[in-house]
């Protein structure tokens, strides 16, 4: 972490910790924190009646305009996962609104009203959005509906029980009818019912059916002012920075003569952020940044390369670490096993590389500040900027825009890029809007990666294939250490996000021991779409596959034996296998692999069918089965599975961040090349019907794809790829 952020971090911690919701953690961890969800008292009480003609405010989540437009206030960031549509669906369902009248708007930073009930602060992550908003947004819709009914009943002089609502229209048997807009103002002034009845599933018209995405029209037409990158303000300057080329380095000296000579450049300033070029437009700022000659002081910098880190991690694997799980007697168990197999795995650092490079616009004036960004943790962004600027959190306005992807990158517990913008604004010192823009190179080299991990596993089976012992060691940086959430996630030296998916496995393993080492490295790390499951699912699912072979059993049948006490997992695995035609032999030259994993409360099984040409792997088809509880929006669930599979596949095929003497080797989409349409398999998604409360879908599609493909490679070559990405070719 960058040293100058220590103070703001404290401030952010204060903001978060002071919220009572933070105290209600029930267990679990990682970005998938399970915290007691409760509605803050009074949160749904109608606010002050709107003045002449403005929208009537029913509660923090629902506003209705005189023309009948229903605005659903979205407390989560929508970075493509479709949560704005999801929350609009919940409100529209209980309100009985018509699709066409529903609009959405992102909530401002306001912890008291818009906290994530699972985090206790405002934020999006861990695929928690639907789960923690399920009751809240439906109730918000139901409350508004009851108030509209009451207002209409009063106006018509009929009993409220006789007023019906459908598709945005209030009606009475007498023939009277009207739209929401006509009654909105009167309704918002009424007392909100405390516990409105919610619909039963058979009454749903949108949930589980269809509700069109609210963002598709704007995103298909290049609409202005959609993303933070699109912000333009009068008198605005664009800022592009030269950041330290190794973490921990500082500016020693700068020759900025050539940079200043670029037409459009207004100033160049050094600071804790590195060297900032201020220009009237983006291009001159970028061009000038590349002309800076900066001498860096590497005295305190991280200067180890990937090779050195790997050697150090390998040595740690051999030593006892913090104990994440120990059932006792592991060595005896392995000694008594009929067969023992062992494997060592290496996972590289991974960049998120959201399509929209990071950017923040900031304006500081007269004791207040405004920040425009794709804010995934507004509470932290607000508190951090306030601390840097010497303001109170409530003096900082955070305006959230649609985010051009995140995959975890915008949910940052040290708010580093908003902090950087605040430091730049402080250095600038004038009330002028500043837009800090990252280039793609800045993004790829910018850290906050999925950590690099090594795993070593020894697993033993008896003559029947039963797993009698499992000895597992993991080495990799802790994501949560040093953050405001450390005390909730790191227990006895074990960061749950490093071992989730291993120590809590539901495979029947009679004796397990898991050792964890969390070395300190100067490379900032962060959760990456599905967090620990990105590597743990890979190890578990490839090991189980290798054990199936040792036991002489079919990979699906073997898994079904081992997970027999986990019925939802069994069900997704069976469905994926059946739909993929698992029991029929694949066509000549095709190979199949399977993986099943639960993350963030959602169960996903995937069967990958591949063809191989030498060392190059082509994934032809993926059959996916998902159980995420009640399917709020089936088409969006499919979209998230398709996207998660593509995202995860691109990473295992060829992505990895490596370091040489502390400097990142990759720079842009040539050296860190995302999956392209030519790599994309056909994806078929099947959703299990369920009456369980809904769980998230943004992340859980990712973990099974890597191991499913690896297991298909195992069928083809007899070897699992153990050193990722596959482009290393260690299985050829």
């Amino acid at each position: 972490m960058l040293h100058y952020l220590d103070k703001p971090l404290e401030a952010a911690r204060g903001v978060a910790a002071s919220r009572r919701g933070f105290l209600k953690i029930l267990g679990g961890a990682g970005a998938g924190l399970i915290v007691g969800a409760m509605l803050p008292p009074g949160s749904l009480v109608g606010a002050a009646k709107a003045a002449n003609g403005a929208d009537a405010v029913f509660n923090p989540f629902v506003e209705i305009a005189p023309d009948g437009v229903v605005t659903v206030v979205i407390k989560h960031l929508d970075k493509g996962q479709g949560i704005a549509t999801g929350l609009a669906t919940l409100v529209a369902e209980e309100l009985d609104a018509a699709i066409e009248q529903v609009k959405t708007r992102f909530a401002p930073a306001d912890n008291a009203r818009y906290a994530n009930l699972m985090f206790g602060m405002q934020g999006t992550g861990g695929s928690t959005s639907i789960a923690n908003s399920w009751e809240q947004y439906r109730t918000a819709g139901a409350v508004a509906r009851a108030m509209l009914i009451e207002a209409a009943a009063k106006a018509w002089g009929v009993p409220a029980a006789e007023v019906t609502v459908a598709a945005g229209k209030l009606s009475h048997a007498s023939g009277k009818s009207g739209g929401f807009g006509e009654f909105a103002d009167a309704a918002a002034g009424l007392t909100a019912p405390e516990k409105p009845a919610l619909k039963s599933p058979d009454q749903w018209v949108y949930i589980g059916k269809r509700f069109p995405r609210v963002d598709v029209p704007n995103k298909s037409s290049g609409a202005p002012d959609t993303y933070a990158m699109d912000i333009h303000q009068e008198n605005m300057l664009v800022v592009v920075l030269a950041r330290p080329p190794k973490w921990g380095a500082t500016v020693k000296s700068v020759n900025d003569a050539a940079a200043r000579a670029v037409k459009g450049v207004v100033d160049v300033k050094s600071g804790p952020f590195g060297v900032a070029v201020f220009a009237d437009k983006t291009w001159p700022a970028m061009k000038a940044r590349d002309l800076l000659e900066v001498e860096w002081d590497f005295a305190k910098a991280e200067t180890r390369g990937t090779a050195e880190l790997e050697a150090e991690y390998k040595a740690l694997l051999e030593q006892p670490g913090a104990i994440a799980r120990d059932d006792g007697g592991i060595d005896e168990a392995l000694a008594g096993a009929a067969k023992v197999i062992s494997s060592s795995y290496a996972f590289p650092y991974l960049a998120h590389a959201p399509m929209e490079p990071l950017d923040t616009t900031i304006l500081v004036e007269d004791g207040k500040a405004t920040i425009w960004t794709g804010s995934q943790m507004p509470t932290v962004d607000q508190g951090t900027a306030a601390a840097i600027l010497g303001l109170k959190p409530e003096q900082v306005d955070v305006v959230t825009r649609w985010a051009g992807g995140s995959f975890g990158r915008r949910a940052i517990l040290d708010a580093h890029y908003v902090a950087e913008a605040a430091l730049v604004a402080k250095a600038w010192g004038k009330p002028q809007p500043l837009k800090v823009v990252w280039t793609r190179e800045d993004d790829i080299k910018g850290g906050y990666y999925r950590p690099m991990y090594l795993h070593q596993v020894k697993a033993g089976i008896d003559a029947n294939g039963t797993v009698v012992g499992w000895k597992h060691a993991i080495v990799g940086q802790s994501i949560f250490a040093g953050t405001a959430m450390e005390s909730y996630v790191v227990k006895d030296g074990v960061d749950d996000s490093s071992v989730e998916g291993v120590r809590d496995t539901t495979y029947g393993v009679s004796k397990m021991r898991v050792d964890l080492h969390s070395p300190k490295v100067g490379v900032p790390v962060l959760w990456w779409r599905s967090v620990g499951h990105t590597h743990t699912a890979y190890v578990m699912e490839t090991m189980i596959d290798a054990l199936a072979r040792e036991a002489g059993k079919d990979p699906v049948a073997y898994r079904l034996e081992l997970i027999k006490d986990d019925p939802r997992k069994v069900a997704v695995l069976k469905l994926a296998a059946e739909k993929a035609g698992w029991s029929d032999k694949p066509a000549e030259g095709r190979y199949r692999g399977v993986a099943v994993h639960k993350s963030f409360g959602t169960y996903v099984a995937e069967v990958a069918e591949i063809s191989m040409d030498g060392g190059s792997v082509k994934v032809e088809k993926v059959t996916c089965a998902v159980d995420c509880g009640i399917a709020v929006n089936p088409d969006n669930i499919k979209a998230q599975m398709e996207g998660g599979i593509g995202f995860g596949l691109g990473a295992v095929l060829r992505n990895g961040i490596t370091l040489t003497e502390g400097a990142v080797d990759q720079a842009n989409f040539d050296t860190y090349e995302p999956i392209r349409i030519s790599d994309m398999p056909e994806v078929e998604v099947h959703i299990l019907p369920s009456a369980e409360a809904p769980s998230g879908v943004g992340e859980p599609g990712v973990p099974p794809i890597g191991p499913a493909v690896a297991n298909a490679i195992f069928q083809a070559t007899g070897k699992h790829p153990l050193k990722l990405p596959f482009s290393n070719g260690d299985f050829v």
Binding site: K79, V216, P284, M355, W402, G404, G643, I645, G646, E682
Partner: protein, 153 residues
């Protein structure tokens, strides 16, 4: 001062010769539908049409343009293929984060204008330069086929 013809309208801009068309659109003209993704010709987020061809505006320096070319962006792209693509994109709900989609739509529209009934291979070839980090590729492919159907009427 130089003049560019963008979406049928002559626009005057005052920029250096080495300025990429991308930044003229985004900063000088505030037409932000065309996106910055990599600045290196590797992602296609900045795709526009120049005389009907899909080009990467981040690699198109204004000094290399004569000024007479017909430039079309996502905000103004018209014609049978473009209309069909936009309709299909909305119908299939291709977008997730949406940031790449202006570029995807521009590449797809250029493909369909030249090849109204593209095969899967044609689609892969024409769209392979357009990165989507949300990996909406399956729907992109479906939507291009759907647009071809719409064009047929």
């Amino acid at each position: 001062m130089r003049t560019l013809v963008i979406n049928g309208v002559g626009r005057e801009v005052d920029v250096e010769d080495d300025t990429p068309l991308l930044w003229i659109l985004r900063d000088d003209l505030q037409m932000t539908g065309t996106k910055f993704g990599c600045g290196a010709g590797l992602c296609g987020a900045c795709t526009v049409h120049v005389d009907g061809q899909a080009v990467r505006s981040c690699q198109t320096l204004v000094g290399d343009l004569a000024g007479t070319e017909k430039i079309e962006t996502i905000e103004g792209v018209a014609g049978k293929a473009a209309e069909a693509v936009k309709t299909a994109w909305a119908e299939i709900e291709v977008a997730q984060c949406g940031y790449c989609q202006s570029g995807q739509i521009m590449s797809a529209a250029a493909l369909l204008a030249a090849t109204p009934k593209p095969t899967d291979e044609d689609i892969t070839a024409a769209m392979d330069g357009n990165v989507c980090r949300c990996a909406t590729y399956q729907r992109i492919r479906t939507a291009v086929h759907r647009a071809a159907e719409i064009m047929e009427g």
